[in-house]
Symmetry: C2
Subunit: 117 residues, 2 copies
């Protein structure tokens, strides 16, 4: 695991969490991993259409922070696949809280699938 490249803004746990996943995309990748997505293409197929350069960056960052591991591709191809570590799986309550807030307060949102596996 590589050390974090940017220094912490504070020792506060909320700030440290946001140093890792405070952006528009990272938690969508975690959401998809919680849904069982493993391959690069699984993530780019999601409705938000994450750009491939951003996806590569976020997968590397999640990996560097010990939240995902690389695993052999399920189809036996040479491509990597990805799986959450316990540290990554522990983000489920964060995703659930955001999902619940969105469903209650943002009109017209719908969760097409549950975020539990």
């Amino acid at each position: 695991m590589k050390p974090t490249s940017t220094p912490r803004r504070s020792p506060g746990p909320v700030a440290c969490g946001l140093d890792l996943f405070g952006d528009k995309w990272t938690l969508l990748v975690v959401r998809d991993l919680l849904l069982g997505h493993q391959r690069f293409k699984d993530f780019t197929d999601s409705p938000e259409r994450i750009p491939t350069n951003i996806l590569t960056d976020r997968l590397n960052r999640l990996h560097d922070h010990g939240t995902i591991t690389r695993i052999p591709a399920p189809d036996g191809s040479r491509h990597s696949a990805y799986q959450l570590t316990p540290k990554g799986e522990a983000l489920l309550p964060v995703i659930t809280a955001i999902r619940d807030w969105g469903l209650q307060w943002e009109k017209g949102t719908r969760a097409s699938r549950t975020t539990t596996r």
Copy 2:
């Protein structure tokens, strides 16, 4: 309330939540509001030292999305102060989940104050 300027990436509630607060700063402002901070200076005094131009942008965005209201300054000055609406207060479980994750998985983090008022 002004309409959202950027279109939704998907109807998914996680994506819609992140369209509003998916960045390094917005949820820190919400954290401070939950702690009872009201004045511009209260937010810039937080340990992360949010830049004033970013703070102005985030307060405007939170206001445009109906998560905060402007109130008279408690000291009677001409400056605005800010307070969470019910939609903003409903972000408490999101902050709590991130705090708990940070405390458990990011070494050396500490919550100096509780996030409940």
